[in-house]
Symmetry: C2
Subunit: 559 residues, 2 copies
């Protein structure tokens, strides 16, 4: 019995130890800490893309569903992390990893993240965040000013106002978009003398109160999928997320948008919000933000701009005109973990009207009391970490001019990659880069010519095969682990009403050079020589021969 108690005491002492900061830098834990730090750096230097093993194989290391009964030594776990995790994760920071919106991070983000983690502040309330609350308010004001260009007096009045917040810091752009539409919905159904507001009464009674049969959110078909989630979550329904066709530059088609609005009127459905996109996820296109502002004004609806990707273009003197009209938006989403180069998990939404967030204000007895400066009273999320520190660090250390360089660099890089693709006869540029995102596909020159003359049905058949080619190409390149592009589906001029598979490239990593881009294309030229792809291309050729015959037939008929 005594022995059991001794064992328990020993275990307890071990437990205390893991909660205690090592006193000396030469303590065991301190040593492990430094070893990990060195190793991560080593990994980042020597690997381009992590070890390629199939997901199914990897799952074998993660298939136990019972929580380990006994404790493990930190050193043992560290080995596991190095061998099973670090070596098999995706090197999202590699300059050849240009398929998604990830990039190398500024080095200072690592030690600062560590400080953030060590301080473990909770931004929901001042009592657990103190200085981090004014810090986050300042960051929101800075981004607000970047978008809305308010004057000193405006920010002097609102930046630290205890009743309001200029925006909400979120875990990402999805929560930011949801927050924007939540605010829009609650403002449309604000409390009045005869109505307690949607926050209290709910959506069904609110619609009855306003005498309409539904709400709609309008956006181009390139809108981010988070808008669908928002429509579902907020009770609006995905069928009422009206996705409007785009023009040949992947920007919302204004005449079709106006048609859609008219149809809504006929159905007694109220337009809740118009969403403009400043940098579509798939093509980086920017909607005509000024024209959308005009229309939102006419409709009297909320105007939201999803600038999760493109917002930081505002840093660039040369390119910020691309976002003209953004200052007329009622709300704007920005993602710091994208082009502000902050680690994953930092989104924001700012509101032109500094009182807008009151529409979702909430309180609790133990925190978020009225008149407190607790940021939690105006956010969808509750407890939140001090990520604002990292945004603040980026804005301070890189500065407006630094971000300008990064933005301009990405846009130039995209243009030069587009030029490279155009010079390769067997590739087809499927969307011209407006910002730093573009799409293209493998499509041999002869096939491009044949597609011009092909019938709709012939086009469909050829494109179906080309889809397979490009899917295989993307998959094989990813699995080879040297470079990475992503893929999506788009309507392109030669595809008619159908969508085709295209390769997608995001050029935000400042370490990505033209030489790397050249090697991406060269690798693709090698991959298409593989047997499975060649077999598909032979089928394409056969179909193209049919097109030639057809055109000959047509000519014959005509003559």
């Amino acid at each position: 019995m005594l022995k059991n108690r001794e064992v328990a005491r020993a275990t307890l002492e071990n437990l205390y130890r893991i909660f205690t900061i090592p006193e000396a830098p030469d303590s065991t834990l301190g040593e492990i800490d430094r070893a990990i730090t060195r190793d991560v750096a080593g990994f980042l230097q020597t690997h381009i893309v992590a070890l390629e093993r199939s997901l199914e194989e990897i799952e074998g290391d993660f298939s136990t569903s019972t929580i380990p009964e006994e404790p493990t030594f930190v050193s043992e776990y560290t080995e596991f992390v190095k061998q099973k995790l670090v070596a098999q994760s995706v090197h999202t920071a590699a300059p050849g990893f240009i398929g998604h919106m990830t990039s190398a991070l500024p080095y200072f983000m690592l030690p600062l993240s560590r400080i953030m983690t060590a301080l473990n502040q909770n931004l929901v309330k001042v009592e657990t965040s103190k200085v981090f609350t004014p810090l986050e308010r300042q960051v929101l004001a800075m981004l607000h000013r970047l978008v809305y260009l308010g004057d000193e007096a405006f920010y002097g009045r609102w930046i630290h106002n205890s009743q309001h917040a200029l925006g909400a810091f979120c875990s990402g752009g999805t929560i930011a978009n949801v927050t924007a539409l939540w605010v829009a919905r609650n403002r449309l159904f604000a409390p009045s003398e005869t109505f307690n507001g949607i926050a209290r009464e709910g959506l069904a009674r609110s619609l009855k109160h306003l005498g309409c049969d539904g709400l709609a959110v309008l956006v181009s078909r390139r809108g981010h999928y988070s808008l669908g989630k928002a429509a579902d979550l907020l009770g609006i329904g995905r069928d009422n997320l009206v996705t409007v066709e785009t023009d040949e530059h992947n920007r919302i088609d204004l005449p079709q948008l106006r048609d859609a609005c008219r149809r809504l009127g006929d159905e007694n459905i109220r337009p809740l919000a118009l969403v403009g996109i400043a940098g579509t996820t798939e093509t980086g296109s920017v909607d005509p933000l000024d024209e959308l502002a005009d229309l939102a004004g006419e409709l009297g609806c909320h105007y939201h701009v999803d600038a999760a990707w493109g917002g930081p273009t505002l840093f660039s003197e040369r390119n910020r005109h691309l976002l003209d009209g953004i200052a007329r938006a009622d709300s704007v989403t920005l993602d710091a973990h994208k082009q502000l180069y902050v680690p994953m998990g930092a989104g924001m939404v700012v509101f032109r009207d500094p009182t807008a967030l009151s529409a979702i204000e909430h309180h609790a007895a133990y925190i978020l009391r009225r008149g407190s400066k607790d940021l939690g009273s105006h956010t969808l999320e509750g407890s939140r970490p001090g990520k604002a520190l990292l945004v603040h660090a980026g804005l301070s250390i890189i500065g407006r001019k630094g971000y300008e360089l990064l933005i301009d660099l990405g846009i130039e890089r995209a243009r030069s990659f587009a030029a490279m693709i155009r010079r390769q006869p067997d590739f087809e540029l499927t969307s011209e880069p407006q910002l730093n995102i573009l799409t293209y596909r493998y499509c041999p020159a002869t096939v491009q010519q044949a597609l011009q003359r092909a019938s709709a049905e012939q086009r469909r058949q050829i494109n179906l095969l080309l889809d397979q080619v490009n899917q295989l190409l993307q998959k094989d390149q990813r699995e080879a682990g040297k470079t990475f592009v992503s893929r999506t589906r788009l309507r392109i001029p030669l595809s008619g009403a159908e969508q085709v598979t295209v390769l997608r490239v995001v050029l935000a990593n400042p370490l990505t050079t033209d030489a790397i881009l050249q090697s991406v294309l060269e690798e693709q030229c090698t991959i298409v020589l593989q047997q499975d792809i060649q077999a598909l291309l032979q089928q394409v050729e056969l179909l193209c021969a049919g097109v030639a015959d057809l055109s000959v037939q047509l000519k014959t008929k005509a003559s």
Copy 2:
């Protein structure tokens, strides 16, 4: 002109540098990194609570709303962080900081967080997370098993199933609770032959389809404020969040709950979900989870348990019975950043039915394709960091037995603090700790006696003054910066229908000792000697004298 270009090139080179990992440990950035690490450790060792300056004063350092034009040296910014941020943040890990749900963190969380940040994986899709996807799925399975005790075959089938997810990893308990109710709502209005489901058709048409006038969520009045947000967000309306009174142990009152359900029936409002709380935020009370499961069965509604705080009690052989019935819940919220001792920003919701999350499933053309293992197709959030690593590390390094020790320790500590409060005649224990949270207030012994005999109006007046006493007490203690308790408002036996201000203590930090708890009370005994509080207490005494008179009068009348 040439000179300008040279300047631009130099700046660009500097920019590249900050994106490049320092090659040698003796590089400047490497040195700064280590200096920061040392300094954070220094701060955590030498300060108990950070420097106390008023928020208004601190705001002065964070009032510029323009983004700095020029870059700043990392070293300069580091100084700013040390002096203006670290020194003025709240030391949430201090063993005397027992007012909120924060604790010291196991030391290994810091280097592992650094790895997580450096790898910068994005869990929304396998392409940007690879091994982190099976890792997160494993963590979800482990927590699912902790709650639901499924067998090997069950987890073998579902853990890495590409069509489904056993739960969702979230930024915190709020998103977890919202996700649970979102799933509940969408399952109630699932698609059928004549109806496309609420996700597509929206709430108003769904209510019409089911022929009911509204939805209700039922929870005790101690329910977390995130449920109100969820009711608002999901279009249900806060008025339809039915908050039921609690019994004398702050647990939902079952007869009153049944009455509330009957009233809903009369109003043709459909109960969407019953929410049980396993560890209320304010008092740590656990609802009768088994009885609630029975009732949810009768009503045929979703049964959610918010175990954000108390979930890890399941680690303890001795205490897990307190949560009996939790395995009957349809969904359970757990917060890893609470009693799993993970840094801020890690919540989870697990579902008994492994197909439940299909109700909110979504896809996009470039990611989350059908049949992929992308976790993002079943989460409210989009891009998310690899926080699951830290949960995995805690479960592995601390182990089930380690967590058991921590849980048992906290519950024992709460009991011994309750005993200390009872021994102090001038303090009143206002809620008995069931887990490791308790509340009390300063209320001199004589006043406690007087309150027993006082009329309702006298009680009200005395309690109003005591509220002020306890508010000042809490504020002064916080500002003194040595220890910290929080405050909230509760109904207690001697307060009648009104709520009174009570001090709230959360005992989850393993470094908090009985000696520290004793010093918290001693400090409070000193603070109440201050003039402003004494003035209030004199008014209380006068009122109590009135009570004595009254009781004399009453006696006289009776005789």
